[in-house]
C-alpha cells in the first residue's frame, strides 16, 4: 500500500455558527483522480481552499505526500507540489496567454528577485510554456491577451498555468463550469490524458464528466463526507441518491 498523496484527517472549518467543513477525512493515492461532488453549498470549494491554503482550517491535519502542509501559506504549498485551478478564472488580464504560463514556469524554477535581465528573453521558459499550451490545445492563441480570450479558453489556460508549476497534486475547481458541450468534451479528454501523471482532486457539477473521469468519488453534504467509493458504489448508495442525485432529477 503506497502512502497517500493527499491525506485529510478530521479537517473542520466553521464560519460563525455555520459548519462548512465537518470532520472531513480522505486519503487520495498517487495518480488517483478523486472527484468531490455534492449539492450547492456543501462546502466543496471551501474544502479545496483549505487544501490550497487560502483558508486556514480550524482543526485536523492536511498532509501532502506524508508531510503536514496545513500551517503553510498558499505559496509554500505550491512549492511543495500543489497547484489549483479556480472556478472563476484567476488570470493576469493584461498579459498574453504565453506570458501567463511563462511566468508560472519561471516562478517554478526559483525566486523572482531578478531585477535586470529581460524576463521575456528567456527562450527556455518560452519553450516550456509553449509545450504546456500545446498540451491544453491553446498554442494557437499564445499571443492573445487574456482579456480578449473566450471563457472556454480561459478555463484551458487555467489548467496550463497550473500544470506549469509542475504539481504532484492538482486541485480542479469546476473546470467544466460554463463550458459548452463540445468544450466540456474537450476538457474531459484533456483531463483523461493527464490521469496517472498527476494526482487530481476534481470538484465538479457535471456528473457525466465526473463519472467518466473519476477513479473514486466522495459525496459532500453539509460539509460532511457522506460516502466515498467507486462511481458504481456512489451511484448505488441510497443515502446519496436521496441527498443529491435524486434531487438533481435525473
Amino acid at each position: 500500500m503506497t502512502s497517500p498523496m493527499l491525506e485529510l484527517r478530521g479537517v473542520c472549518k466553521r464560519f460563525g455558527g455555520l459548519t462548512a467543513t465537518d470532520d472531513v477525512s480522505l486519503a487520495i493515492s498517487p495518480g488517483e483522480l478523486h472527484a468531490i461532488i455534492g449539492p450547492n453549498g456543501a462546502g466543496k470549494t471551501t474544502l479545496l481552499n483549505q487544501v490550497a491554503g487560502e483558508l486556514r482550517h480550524d482543526a485536523g491535519a492536511i498532509l501532502l505526500d506524508g508531510h503536514e502542509i496545513g500551517t503553510l501559506p498558499p505559496w509554500e504549498r505550491v512549492g511543495r507540489g500543489l497547484a489549483r485551478t479556480f472556478q472563476i478564472t484567476q488570470l493576469l488580464p493584461d498579459e498574453t496567454v504565453l506570458d501567463n504560463v511563462t511566468l508560472a514556469v519561471q516562478v517554478q524554477r526559483g525566486h523572482s528577485f531578478r531585477f535586470f535581465a529581460d524576463a521575456r528573453s528567456d527562450p527556455d521558459a518560452h519553450a516550456q510554456a509553449t509545450q504546456f499550451l500545446q498540451d491544453v490545445g491553446l498554442a494557437a492563441s499564445a499571443s492573445v491577451r487574456v482579456a480578449d480570450l473566450a471563457h472556454g479558453e480561459r478555463k484551458q489556460l487555467e489548467l496550463a498555468v497550473a500544470l506549469a508549476t509542475r504539481p504532484s497534486l492538482l486541485l480542479l475547481d469546476e473546470p467544466m463550469a460554463g463550458l459548452s458541450f463540445v468544450e466540456s468534451q474537450h476538457m474531459v479528454a484533456l483531463l483523461r490524458r493527464l490521469k496517472g501523471r498527476v494526482t487530481m482532486v476534481l470538484v465538479e457539477h457535471d456528473m457525466d464528466a465526473v463519472f467518466a473521469l473519476a477513479d473514486r468519488i466522495s459525496v459532500l453534504v453539509y460539509g460532511r463526507v457522506m460516502a466515498t467509493g467507486s462511481s458504481d458504489d456512489v451511484r448505488a448508495n441510497p443515502a446519496v441518491r436521496t441527498a443529491y442525485l435524486g434531487e438533481d432529477g435525473d
Partner: protein
C-alpha cells in the same frame, strides 16, 4: 472597450522598446542636455532652474509610479521619503557648516555625492519600516496608514527645533562635488539630468525583469500569483523600498537645489501632487511620470502668473486631461503618433 484598448497599449508599451524608440530617447536626452545652452542664448536663464525642478520631480514621480502604476499600491504618503531625503542632505550640511556631528556621532558633509548616497540609504530604510507595516494591509487601510506615517514624519520634523522646526532648514551654499562645480546652475542641471536618466533606465530594467513581471502580476491578480507560488508581501516590500529610495534621492536633490528644506516637503499635499503627476502623465507607463511632472510644473507656473486662485484652474485642467485622455498624457501622445 476603451479601457481594454488602453490596457493593450499599456502592456505593449511597457516592455517593448524597439530600436526606433532608443533613437528617439537618445535624441530627447541630447535636447535636454542642450537646454541650459539654449536658455543662455535666449537670455532666459530661469528656464534652466525650471528644467532642473522638472527633472527632480520626474525622479520622484517615476519612483512613485513603480509602486502606484506598475505595482498597484495606492500610497498617499510618498512625500515622506521625498522629505526624508531632503532632510538628510540638509542636516548633513548643517553639521558640516557647524563642524558638529549628528547625535554627536555622525559628522556632517557638504559633499553632494556622499549626501545623496546617505539620502538614498536612509530613504530606503524609512521605506522598509513604513512598508513592512503598511503593506500588511490593502486598499483604503493602506492609503490611510501610508498617509498616517507621512503625517507622523511631518510633525516629527515640525517639532525638531534643532533642525529649524516649522521654519525649515536653510543652507548657505549648495553641496560640492569633486572636479565639478556643482554650485553652478548649469552643472547642477546636468547632474540632475544624469540622475533622472539613470533612474529612468533603472525603472525600465525593473519593469521588464522577472521582478517587474511579478510586481505587475500582483497588481492584476494577487490570488493568481499566490497560486503559482509567489509570496506577495516580499515583492511588494522590495518595490516599496526601491520607490522610497528614489523619492529620497529626488528630495535631496531638491533640498540642495533650493538650499532649503522644510516639513512642507513631506506634507500630504505634496504626496497628492506626486500622485497627480503620475496620473496626469500616465500611471504604469515609462515616460508618463516625466511628462506629468513637466506638465504640472508648467501649469503651476503659467497659471500662478495669471491669477492668485491658480489651484482652482489647475484642478479643472487636471480633471479635463484625466477624464478625456483615459491614460494620461502618455496615452494622448501615443494616439497622436498613431500607435
Amino acid at each position: 472597450m476603451t479601457s481594454d484598448t488602453l490596457e493593450a497599449r499599456r502592456s505593449g508599451r511597457t516592455y517593448a522598446f524597439p530600436m526606433s524608440r532608443i533613437v528617439i530617447f537618445v535624441i530627447a536626452v541630447a535636447i535636454l542636455a542642450l537646454v541650459p545652452a539654449g536658455a543662455t542664448a535666449l537670455h532666459m536663464p530661469s528656464v534652466t532652474g525650471f528644467a532642473t525642478q522638472v527633472l527632480i520631480y520626474a525622479i520622484a514621480a517615476m519612483s512613485l509610479n513603480l509602486i502606484l502604476g506598475y505595482g498597484g499600491m495606492v500610497t498617499f504618503g510618498h512625500a515622506a521619503f521625498f522629505g526624508v531625503g531632503g532632510y538628510v542632505l540638509g542636516i548633513l550640511y548643517q553639521h558640516s557648516a557647524q563642524r558638529s556631528a549628528f547625535l554627536a556621532l555622525v559628522p556632517g558633509t557638504d559633499n553632494l555625492a556622499v549626501a545623496l548616497l546617505a539620502a538614498v540609504l536612509i530613504g530606503a530604510a524609512t521605506a522598509a519600516v513604513i512598508g513592512s507595516l503598511s503593506l500588511r494591509t490593502r486598499g483604503v487601510p493602506f492609503i490611510m496608514i501610508t498617509l498616517a506615517f507621512a503625517q507622523m514624519l511631518f510633525f516629527l520634523f515640525v517639532s525638531l527645533k534643532t533642525y529649524g522646526g516649522d521654519d525649515g532648514l536653510m543652507m548657505r551654499r549648495r553641496d560640492v562635488v569633486p572636479f565639478v562645480d556643482a554650485r553652478d546652475d548649469i552643472s547642477y542641471y546636468l547632474i540632475c539630468l544624469t540622475l533622472a536618466v539613470g533612474w529612468l533606465v533603472l525603472t525600465w530594467c525593473l519593469v521588464r525583469s522577472r521582478f517587474g513581471a511579478v510586481l505587475s502580476g500582483l497588481r492584476q491578480n494577487e490570488r493568481r500569483m499566490m497560486a503559482i507560488g509567489i509570496a506577495p508581501y516580499r515583492y511588494r516590500l522590495v518595490a516599496f523600498v526601491i520607490a522610497g529610495a528614489g523619492a529620497a534621492l529626488a528630495g535631496a536633490l531638491m533640498a540642495n537645489y533650493l538650499r532649503f528644506v522644510s516639513p512642507d516637503m513631506m506634507h500630504w499635499t505634496k504626496s497628492g501632487e506626486l500622485m497627480m503627476m503620475v496620473i496626469l502623465g500616465g500611471a504604469g507607463t515609462l515616460f508618463g511620470p516625466i511628462l506629468g511632472a513637466a506638465a504640472m510644473l508648467a501649469l503651476e507656473t503659467a497659471l500662478a502668473a495669471y491669477t492668485e486662485n491658480w489651484q482652482f484652474y489647475l484642478g479643472i485642467i487636471l480633471l479635463a486631461v484625466v477624464m478625456t485622455t483615459r491614460g494620461g498624457l502618455s496615452a494622448l501622445l501615443d494616439r497622436a503618433s498613431g500607435r
